[in-house]
Symmetry: C3
């Protein structure tokens, strides 16, 4: 009982996702298909990489992840299968797998074996003609080496990293979820290593926050709350309200952590 | 072959729903997962309760309903399993199960047994860390009493009920569907008991309606139509048009049924 | 292991789709359900017919397609099962199956046998009360002739066809996908037969295009690109941008192919 998990920027209005599922079931009628998201912003490889990173560890061993966020479809960009200890990833080699750890990667295959493709291969929909059939065959247990030659590296994107400048930790909002919560690129580790047990102040837009909360409810009075959320990163939010809209903050908005000289 | 039906306010842009499914399949690879809706208005427990009520009776016996509309996540609100003659419901105890009938409820369990949780339990995503794993174990046949102690009551919300005032039946719009149809809180029973076979006039916004239609087509001339729809409640709609937009009526808009003194 | 593929205009906010799935699993717990799309524009039968046409050939033999775009629900419109060599289609007889080829159709059944309906049949939700149970029984292998008498014809819609006028091939945009790509009604065959190897110019809004591209990347300089896309029709697009928005072109916008008198 294998699983294919889909992550695309195809949206749900068109039939792109449905057609890919048709192709997959045609090849492997027994597989289960899970939608991770199809609402990645069009062509936004960074967003896809981020959501994939925070999703895949929750899936059972053997899951095949099929990622089609592919602005370079039809160009010279390569397509790859990446095998880790537990999972298989099928994707265009455009950086969408940037968060996979070197140490976890067992093998990288460049997908070239046209035997597994739907013919004729269109110029614009490799999700249907290449990626879906390859993922389906993998989910049936086809060996990864059958799909093409091994290769050494995959594309890596750079992501904005928090930095220390003028004694402040400077990060930014990298994702806004459907509730309007602002997810920053500052994870718990980086935060704790910076403040070293001292008092601190978080400044983002016009908001100032001087503690880390342990639940949304601490924002009941209407003040912005900072919390280490399910993405393991510092989130800024308003209790039962849309922080992005009300604080006028968005992806790329800067966040500053200032530390006092006194112990907290 | 068991089924878990999901109802959340997580939307489909983020990976919240996909991750919950990963967690579920991790524990029970054989289960089927059905999406009831993930587009409940953020934190709107009333809406979730209403949609659940009009959905669950259509599912096969043994279905586990997993409802995560949970503005109180991380607070002191409890989590419960409710067992009825036919179904199991897993949810935060915040009123989202208000429509379950006392007489149908066999048992209520407060979820406390951390053995079934994903560790560490986050402060912000109990859907992933508590509710999904509990539902998955239930779907595998784990006994409900394993998850915690029995309890007597669940939270009940109050919903606006139609009332008779000055010889008029006064109700309100409680839901607007994707077609712009206005679903009111007046069900067929209440309506018939009020008009008692007399002539009547329905007044909502600027619209006046003097009969109950038996199909949308009766609105072909462009006039508003009143019909007892699939929710079993009085719906006001425009044929092939968006009544909410064109009549400028919304959730909470009042509706009045006036009865004539003559027989219809 | 049978499959039911769903195509509706129900959207994903309400519980309509979820309830239909409940009904289906109630009858056939073993079936797989695939969402083709639920975001067909409300009541837009032409759009549903077009998306169905470009989807169904990718599904495995035996798939049951369940199409509920049904503005005439509750009226005198008929409901049908159409059996082709490979597939079964269940739908209101309103033209949504217009693209099925006469030569592929083996049998048409008018759905009348109320034994298979959910009772009482509502006036407004035949998707739940008629179409879902019929599709579920079909997916279990129930014989098509059980559902009602045979009939000879199904409704056919007319679709805008490209025409030659004043020595120009005149087509129009029939679909805009989520990326803003403009899909026209000019397919590759019609195009090639018109230009007969001559030089040509494509005119759409203010854009002029003088070649057919073989990948999106050819639009890197920001100019509009014409390509035969995954729908096999001429698509006009902007590389990594929204052609519909930026060129101010929409469904029904005209497209002209002008041919030079010299060979290309």
């Amino acid at each position: 009982m294998s699983i294919i998990a889909l992550l695309t920027d195809f949206g749900l209005n068109d039939n792109f996702v449905g057609v890919m599922k048709g192709v997959i079931y045609h090849i492997n009628p027994e597989v289960k298909i899970v939608d991770l998201s199809h609402q990645i912003e069009s062509h936004n490889i960074h967003e896809a990489a981020f959501l994939l990173k925070s999703s895949y560890p929750y899936f059972p061993e053997g899951t095949v992840f099929l990622i089609v966020v592919d602005p370079g479809v039809g160009s010279e960009r390569k397509s790859v299968i990446v095998e880790t200890e537990k999972y298989l990833f099928v994707a265009p080699d455009n950086g969408v797998l940037s968060f996979l750890m070197e140490r976890d990667i067992k093998r990288i295959i460049q997908i070239t074996n046209e035997e597994y493709f739907l013919k004729p291969v269109s110029r614009t929909f490799h999700g249907r003609d290449i990626f879906a059939p390859v993922a389906a065959h993998l989910s049936k247990g086809e060996k990864v080496e059958k799909f093409g030659p091994g290769t050494r590296k995959i594309e890596k994107l750079t992501f904005p990293e928090p930095q220390v400048k003028n004694n402040r930790l400077v990060g930014e909002v990298i994702y806004v979820d459907r509730f309007g919560n602002l997810i920053t690129n500052i994870n718990q580790d980086t935060f704790l290593r910076f403040i070293k047990g001292k008092k601190f102040q978080i400044v983002i837009g016009k908001a100032k926050i001087s503690k880390i909360s342990s639940s949304y409810q601490e924002g009941k009075e209407g003040l912005p709350v900072g919390i280490f959320g399910s993405f393991d990163n510092l989130e800024i939010l308003l209790y039962r309200d849309d922080a992005s809209r009300l604080l006028n903050l968005h992806k790329s908005s800067k966040i500053y952590v200032e530390k006092s000289t006194t112990r907290s």
